[in-house]
Symmetry: C2
Subunit: 244 residues, 2 copies
DNA sequence: GATTATGATTTGTGATCACACTTGCTTTGA
DNA sequence: TCAAAGCAAGTGTGATCACAAATCATAATC
């Protein structure tokens, strides 16, 4: 019996080949829409049509409608009584509601992560911070997309360390819901004040590397509150203007 | 111009007619599966097939597959690499993870609700408690289904008062995820110890009617922890038995 | 001239079909 | 006797079609 030899050969093959994976079209559509949502590529109150998205993504309607359904259940999109779907509009209440939930859940996640992150994980988020500085160095081109991506990587690298398979999907849902809102805030920050966002992240890293969960939570709260309070005042200003 | 008169007539009609609503088949399938999941009608690790469910629900595969997709995204079901879907199996880690998340989020929700519940809402949950006692009175028929339903009504009547459109869907997702687990616990309670579950609920009502958020939170934590710690010890006992 | 009817277009929903992959069983060969 | 190949039933995925409801533009009516 040459079974052992065959087995060995198979292992040799497996070592060289990467698993091809079998991602469905629906998964790709879903990821693409998620990316667009978190990145704030869709505007609040914008309505999306199945056929329109299918054309834009060059597929049939089938994968799109299932992806939309999934996004609706996680409240990233909203189903109108007309059965059309749109990006949820921003209101003051919703903003406060989202921030409170994010403080609660992401705060818990980072406190858990603080006790579990090793030098390996700390190094990873420091690398991300480094890329941030690098990007800032050549500031002539303010790449908001990249900024959003790096911010996301930084936070989720931490959350992944919290070891909770239940909390992480909830945080993803929260980001999906607040994505369309904070995009405008990040853009305004990057354009105007230039109050270094990275300094908040540095405070988080410091707290995490000393395993200080409480400090990490507080720094995180400061970090995620900023765009929300900014948006809040902006929204109130608009409301006041509409009054006149 | 009799526009005002017509408008008035329309309003009069609207006052008498109930909106008919246009529930889709997919929505019904989704609700039905949710109900089954929260009620624990499916066992952990059970595999569900699209065609099988479609036959059972007497529809085509289309509404079922979309409903399954939605349930997968809220982690109520699990997509295997084989592309079959099953209800997630129970593990010790998952149990602890779920309980921690529920304490965190439902605790916050009830604390918020404590400050917002008026006599009207208090009366509603007291009614539910009354129905509970009534059911207990004729205890010859231990109706676990009704017990699960009443428990759900009691809790969600409270959560609805928290005023957070963001937290409530998350709590629903958590119930969906813990449903298959706690069913066995409730059943065991109802059968064996008969330690009055209602007494925990009464403590919650007392705390809420005095607007004591902290007490309400603590009572709630005691209430939802009970089935989890029960299941936990049972699972550990099983693990020990498998060892031998 | 403003409002209501009417028709065409667009959109979501559900059903059905074709295809690829998985799974379990049978058959074949050593 | 046992393992591997081959076959058949079952399953998820995507495409397409039919239909009903919504939307919008045009026409008709007061």
């Amino acid at each position: 019996m040459q079974k052992a030899a065959i087995e060995k050969n198979n292992e040799a093959i497996a070592a060289q080949l990467a698993p091809v994976g079998r991602e469905t079209v629906q998964d790709r559509v879903y990821s693409e829409l998620r990316r667009a949502l978190i990145g704030g590529l869709f505007e609040p109150s914008q309505v999306l049509t199945i056929r329109g998205l299918a054309d834009a993504l060059v597929t049939s309607t089938m994968p799109v409608r299932e992806a939309l359904g999934r996004l609706i259940t996680e409240k990233a999109l909203e189903a109108l009584p007309n059965r059309s779907v749109r990006v949820p509009p921003i209101t003051l209440e919703r903003l406060d509601d989202l921030l409170r939930a994010r403080i609660l859940i992401e705060g818990e996640a980072i406190a858990l992560a603080a006790a579990r992150m090793g030098p390996r994980q700390i190094a990873t988020i420091e690398t991300i911070l480094g890329e941030w500085d690098e990007m800032r160095a050549l500031k002539h081109k303010k790449d908001v997309d990249r900024e959003v991506t790096l911010n996301q990587s930084f936070h989720f690298e931490i959350y992944r360390s919290c070891g909770s398979a239940v909390l992480i999907p909830m945080i993803e849902s929260l980001w999906l819901q607040s994505g369309p809102c904070i995009r405008v805030a990040i853009y305004a920050f990057s354009e105007a004040g230039e109050v270094d966002t990275a300094q908040y992240h540095r405070r988080i890293v410091t707290a995490l590397s000393t395993q200080d969960g409480q400090a990490a939570r507080e720094s995180l709260v400061a970090d995620i509150s900023r765009p929300f309070t900014f948006l809040r005042s902006k929204l109130q200003a608009n409301a006041a203007k509409d009054q006149t």
